[in-house]
Symmetry: C2
Subunit: 135 residues, 2 copies
DNA sequence: CGGCATCCAATTCGATACTG
DNA sequence: CAGTATCGAATTGGATGCCG
């Protein structure tokens, strides 16, 4: 887990990115990076939940309806790999683990706000289109 | 295809979204909407390519290295369903089809810029972490 | 409690062949 | 030219059980 953070990303770099830029759009690699970091069924909700403060593993399971332990574990690890989340093991018995957003995690705020704004506008647009369709 | 635009989104609405908001993060549904619209292996590159102007189907295949006709067709349809891309069939023989970004498509610009910015910073962060690791 | 291993289902992606 | 159809591979997500 020590070197995993780098290893995984290096693999991605070598595999299909960072080398085959075309002239059409020079930013799509960086955009994909961002999308990849946020991709996964639960990551947005996870970040949302942690944005209100530290939470333990079971608290997260309770606060995110429908998530299974395996997925929670997996997506937390991915967020941790990318430095967005900090994991702290507490000296209790049985073990307790606390998760929290890092400062770097909070740096996603502008993007997330942009996406929330556009998503809301998009939904309104869809609903408007629906009511037009009905007439 | 006439009603598909609405139908697909309505299905999504009924299935798992728009109803189960929790108190933790009230925006994650809208954020997911945005992510869903941009998800897919080629959509970002497609938008990037079309941001330089109209292109025909074969031009897109030529400008986006590695994409197969099936995927191009599929992702163009999804973008069209969401109103981001306009499709025009020209009266030629054989048929020619032109694709272009709509005004609405260009409304993604703030998000895409935000994501490109964060993605670049993230990559720099990773590279910096790598060189630290080497020492 | 906080996971991991295993197995299974669903979705996504790609290669190839075919059509008006 | 601009697709569709079909098949198969790969990735992703979920259910269950085990373990320290």
């Amino acid at each position: 887990m020590e070197t995993g953070f780098l290893k995984e990303i290096i693999i991605k770099m070598d595999k299909e990115k960072y080398l085959d830029m075309d002239a059409c759009s020079t930013h799509h690699l960086a955009i994909r990076d961002t999308m990849d970091v946020l991709s996964g069924k639960w990551k947005i909700r996870l970040i949302g939940s942690l944005s209100f403060g530290k939470k333990r593993f079971m608290e997260l399971i309770g606060s995110i309806d429908g998530i299974a332990a395996k997925m929670l574990s997996k997506e937390l690890q991915e967020l941790e790999l990318n430095g967005l989340v900090k994991r702290t093991v507490l000296n209790t018995k049985p073990v307790t683990v606390e998760y929290e957003l890092t400062e770097y995690g909070y740096s996603l705020k502008p993007i997330i706000n942009e996406m929330a704004l556009w998503g809301m506008q998009h939904r309104e647009r869809v609903i408007r289109a629906m009511s037009v369709k009905k007439e």
